[in-house]
Symmetry: C2
C-alpha cells in the first residue's frame, strides 16, 4: 500500500511538522489554510447567474460572469429560458484544448435571443475588485482575480479580461467580431490557451462537473469535431438555477478571492511547504491557482 503514497502528497498530504523540532514555523499548506477558513471567506453562487448543464454523466454547474460579458450573459440566459439548448449536443472534444456544444444541424431558431452580440472581449478595469498577484505573466502586464475569475489587466489601456484557464467557458464566434451570440459555447479542457485572451468573450466558468466534460472521447475530425452524429454527446437540458426548485439546486460555496485567506492559499501553492518538495517554485502561474469549491457546510 505504501506505493500508493508516492507522487505529490500536496493536497491530502499530512505533514508532521507540528511535531518536528524546528526553529522556524513551517508556512501552512493549502489544506491547513482551508481548514482555518471562516464562513466569511466563502460566498454562495447567484442562482440568477448559475447554469445547470445536464449531460448523460451528470450535472455540470456553470457560473456566469456578467461583470465581464453582460450582453453575452444576458443572451445566454434568454437562450436557456427559451430552452434553446435542450436536446443539442457536444459536437467537439479536442485533446488538450476545448469541448464545445452547439446545434449540430444549425437550424434551431434563436427565439427572442440576439443573433449577434457586440464583442465583450475586455472590460474597463476601473472599479473591478482586482486582487493582484505579484507573479510575472507573459500574456498580460498584470494578473489577479476578480470574484473568483482569473483575470489579466493592462494598466496602459485600462482593460481587464478573464484569462483562458482550465474550466473557463467562452462564446464561440466566427471571423466577425460580433458573430458570437452564446448559442455555441466551449470549455477549456487543456493547457490554458491564453492566446485566445482578448479575442473572444469569456462568459463563465465550470465550478462543478468538469470531469464530465474533460473525459469525453476526443473527436477524430479536424479540430476535434466528432465525425459522426452517433458520437455526439447529448446536452439533455440547460437550466438557470433560479428556474429549478430550491431543493434540487446545488448547495455550493466558492472561496472568495478578495481576502487575506485567499492570498495565503495562493502562497501555499506558490511555495509548497510540505515535506515532499525539495525546491519551492517561488512562482505560481495564474492558471495554476486552484479554484476552490465546497458543499455548503
Amino acid at each position: 500500500m505504501r506505493r500508493f503514497g508516492l507522487v505529490l502528497l500536496f493536497v491530502s498530504g499530512v505533514v508532521a511538522a507540528a511535531d518536528a523540532p524546528s526553529e522556524r514555523p513551517r508556512p501552512p499548506t493549502m489544506a491547513e489554510v482551508l481548514a482555518a477558513t471562516l464562513p466569511s471567506d466563502w460566498r454562495g453562487l447567484d442562482p440568477g447567474n448559475t447554469l445547470y448543464l445536464q449531460v448523460p454523466g451528470g450535472r455540470v454547474v456553470i457560473e456566469l460572469a456578467p461583470a465581464f460579458a453582460p450582453l453575452h450573459a444576458a443572451n445566454i440566459r434568454t437562450l436557456v429560458r427559451e430552452k434553446y439548448f435542450d436536446g443539442l449536443a457536444v459536437v467537439r472534444s479536442q485533446d488538450n484544448f476545448v469541448v464545445q456544444w452547439a446545434d449540430p444541424d444549425g437550424k434551431r431558431p434563436l427565439g427572442t435571443a440576439r443573433a449577434t452580440v457586440p464583442p465583450e472581449f475586455t472590460v474597463p478595469s476601473q472599479g473591478l475588485p482586482f486582487a493582484r498577484l505579484p507573479d510575472v505573466d507573459g500574456y498580460a502586464p498584470e494578473v489577479g482575480f476578480v470574484d473568483g475569475f482569473p483575470v489579466g489587466r493592462d494598466p496602459r489601456t485600462g482593460e481587464a479580461w478573464i484569462a483562458h484557464c482550465y474550466a473557463m467557458v467562452g462564446v464561440g464566434r466566427g471571423n466577425e467580431l460580433d458573430s458570437g451570440n452564446g448559442a455555441e459555447l466551449y470549455v477549456v479542457t487543456g493547457q490554458a490557451p491564453r492566446q485566445l485572451d482578448r479575442n473572444i468573450a469569456v462568459v463563465g466558468r465550470v465550478v462543478k462537473g468538469m470531469e464530465l466534460l474533460s473525459t469525453l472521447p476526443r473527436g477524430t475530425g479536424a479540430m476535434g469535431f466528432y465525425e459522426k452524429p452517433g458520437q455526439y454527446v447529448p446536452i439533455q437540458t440547460v437550466r438557470l438555477a433560479t428556474d429549478v426548485p430550491p431543493g434540487e439546486r446545488e448547495k455550493l460555496e466558492v472561496l472568495r478571492t478578495d481576502t487575506a485567506t485567499f492570498m495565503k492559499l495562493v502562497e501555499s501553492r506558490r511555495n509548497r511547504s510540505d515535506d515532499w518538495y525539495k525546491v519551492p517554485a517561488g512562482h505560481i502561474d495564474l492558471c495554476n491557482v486552484p479554484m476552490v469549491v465546497r458543499p455548503q457546510p
Copy 2:
C-alpha cells in the same frame, strides 16, 4: 454547417490572404510552416528509447529522455525487458493533473532493476543543444527546447531540466529523493504543474496516444486514485520498440526543435496571423508550443 466553423480556425483554418490585396505579406500560419518543411526538419524515434504502452483503448507511444534522466531511463528499460509492467494498472486519474500507473498490490518483485535511483531532477546544461525561446517564464530563468523536450535552464546554477508540460512522463517518488525507481510512472494530463520541476525526475513524453490516457475516468479517491480495483485500467503490456518486430513498430517522425523551421513554427503560434485573431498574443508559454508528430512520409 457554417456554425461548425466557429471558434479557432487556427489549425486547419484556410486563410485567403494570398488572394487578398495587402501591402505587407502575412506571416505564415503553423499549417503553412509545416507544409513547407523539408525532410531534414524531422527526425525519427530511437527504438531503443521508445516504449509502447498497451491499454485497452490502444497503444500509447512514449519517447524516453536519457539525456535528462539516464539512470531512470535505464532502470525503466530493465523493468520493461523483464515485463515488470505487464498486467499492472492505471491506478490514478486526477482531473487537470496526472494519470499514474503502478502495481496495485505493491508486491511484484523488481527483478534485476534497482529499488532506488539517485535523483536526476536536473542535469548540467553545458553541451545540451538548447534552442532558447525569448519568452519570459515565471518558473525558470530561461526556457527552450532540447531535442523536442520543453526545458528550463538556470544560467546561474548551470542546470537544465525538463518542464512539466502536458504529456510529459515522470517518475513517482516518495519523500526520499532516491525513492523513485521507474516502477511507478505518471503522465501530465492537465495544466502544466510546473511546481514539480526540479523536484522529480521527468523521463520522457507521450508522442502518440495521449487521448487514451487523458480521457480515462477520474478517480474519486484522494488525489484521483481509483477507489475500487474494478476501476483500474489494465496496462496490458509495455514493450521497447526494439523488441517489437519492425513491421509492428510505429512509423513516426517528430519535428526537430533545433532548426529555423521550428522557430518559425513557434512564431506562428506566438502571433497568430490568421483572420480569426483580433489581437496577437505577442508571447507563447513554453507549454503551449505544440509537439508536432507525423506518420513517416
